[in-house]
Symmetry: C2
Subunit: 328 residues, 2 copies
């Protein structure tokens, strides 16, 4: 969509399915949208630009039989979650789409999934590139935050409370249901599959946590994979009381406690926010979450030292299962 549109066939393909994202970009912050060599964008005064990129590959990040609407949704949701983790306001996205053939039904559903989520978050699709090849979807997101206010992984201090939004493990159970490794009562199954197929990034919470949380990151790779990164970046140790991990009613209905806890610890794709907050500010962060009708649960604390320890009802746990591994 920017400089790579090379023939009428491809041009029409892109026009038809994705230009909604550009045209709806009659937002004042889009000076020039899709159709030139680059988009021209205008940041608010005295803000910083935030940028992140996420790729999803068929058969690796979602089962081959995933509905295309979910693929489009998930590709953007992962990026929105990165903005949420930084406390940034997402504003624009570009799409690099590689697909084996131009199937109109697939493109209609995929683009609807992506563009509906973009519209719901005030994000304009401002550029892209479509190429033929194995299905690969890379979305790059651009956002902004007032200068100096972004939340980083490295800001946590010893004594901070460790908290998570929402519930953990639902997406892991949803994936198990989608791939036939779990069966569950219909209502619970629907809810868990929806959590996997249509994750909701905690964008409003991230923005609300600016100036309150000391550090944040999103749980894309599972708590056991992600928490050590926050602790290391902040130069502190972390301890988690595993019995405090928030489990949804659907997850508790669908899986036994040991399995539910394993997903809550190590399955990725929940896209909840892991935040560190000084004890004196925890009530303020809770109030922000409550305003957004979002659960916030203290699950542990940060301490001087390094490394992460886990306990269950007061007993130290063996090293819990590893998080999702993209490349091994």
């Amino acid at each position: 969509m920017t400089g790579q549109v090379s023939d009428p066939g491809e041009f029409e393909l892109i026009e038809r399915y994705f230009l909604r994202g550009g045209r709806r970009a009659a937002q004042p912050d889009v000076v020039l949208g899709i159709g030139d060599d680059a988009a021209i964008l205008s940041l608010p005064a005295d803000s910083e630009l935030l940028v992140s990129v996420d790729t999803v590959v068929s058969g690796r990040h979602f089962p081959e039989n995933t509905e295309p609407r979910s693929i489009g949704h998930r590709a953007l949701a992962a990026n929105l979650s990165d903005m949420a983790a930084m406390g940034a306001t997402p504003a624009w996205a570009t799409l690099a789409l590689t697909l084996p053939r131009a199937d109109p039904a697939w493109l209609a559903a995929f683009s609807a999934g992506l563009l509906d989520l973009a519209a719901a978050n005030g994000v304009a699709l401002v550029g892209g590139d479509t190429t033929r090849g194995a299905l690969t979807v890379s979305v790059q997101i651009l956002g902004h935050a007032p200068r100096g206010t972004s939340l980083r992984r490295g800001g946590a201090r010893a004594g901070d409370i460790l908290a998570v939004t929402g519930t953990l493990g639902d997406a892991g159970a949803g994936l198990a249901l989608r791939t036939g490794r779990l069966s569950a009562p219909r209502a619970a199954a629907d809810e868990l599959i929806r959590r996997f197929d249509y994750p909701q990034a905690r964008v409003a919470f991230g923005i609300a946590a600016r100036g309150i949380a000391s550090a944040a990151m999103d749980l894309s790779d599972g708590l056991t994979g992600d928490l050590p990164k926050l602790a290391a970046a902040s130069g502190v140790a972390a301890h988690v009381e595993v019995q405090r991990l928030p489990l949804s009613a659907a997850l508790r209905a669908a899986a036994d406690p040991v399995q539910a806890r394993a997903w809550a610890l190590a399955a990725g794709e929940d896209y909840e926010i892991l935040a560190a907050v000084a004890p004196s500010r925890f009530a303020a962060l809770e109030a922000q979450a409550a305003r957004l009708n979002l659960m916030l649960t203290a699950i542990g604390e940060l301490k001087a030292g390094s490394g992460v320890t886990w306990s269950l009802n007061g007993l130290e746990m063996m090293q819990p299962p590893r998080g999702y591994d993209h490349f091994a």
Copy 2:
């Protein structure tokens, strides 16, 4: 590199080969580089943000046997060229890399090609995502320009001179040499293959053309594919005198005149700049090109109306060959 690093194996892989692009980002405009959920970047005051994305796929945008250093270089060069076409100063890039396996030799060469070109253009690699799959390289570039100064495709007016930088058709011949469809004397062949494998985006020219050129775009899909887009965006007709197309000595040594002209017209990947400029400003644009030791050649003009016509030594040409088609 931003939020997607999920296990020690992948982390080390990325650290080893790409962090040079982040760490060297001790540039003041990189507030926070690789390693968090998103990078934090600082734009100059009173500037606009420019963004573009380009994907290259093995076997489609380059032959399967292309050296990995060239793949890394080309992936970024295509994006730099989009910035050049807009008159923007490239500043940052992110990389979405999908590859079938983590081959250290391949990664070392690929990352060197990308990062050396980035360094030469003052671009910091500030984020990325590595996934396993068929080789696909998407680079998104971010740049900036003083508010209101970017060059667009739609700014040309009837009466403007149409001009191109450098020489055309070299990359087309280079690709033919690389794939065994052409043989040529060694020196010419080396030069043409270098033009295909290591294209140079005209970044400095694009910046210099701000305030002089009325419109610009880059020639990534060939003149016959790209010029109609500039004419349509500007609402004017274009006429090209094909005998004026600038051909390099290497191309003239390697191919007969008819073949050379066909590549100059329709082969993509030259990454030269096509600019429209008012006759009164042509000398100023020429002077900027000369300062940069770059050839600038008037090849035709823009007129009232629509569509593109081509003549060769005064005789109207049949529709010349189509440009490169990514998706048919």
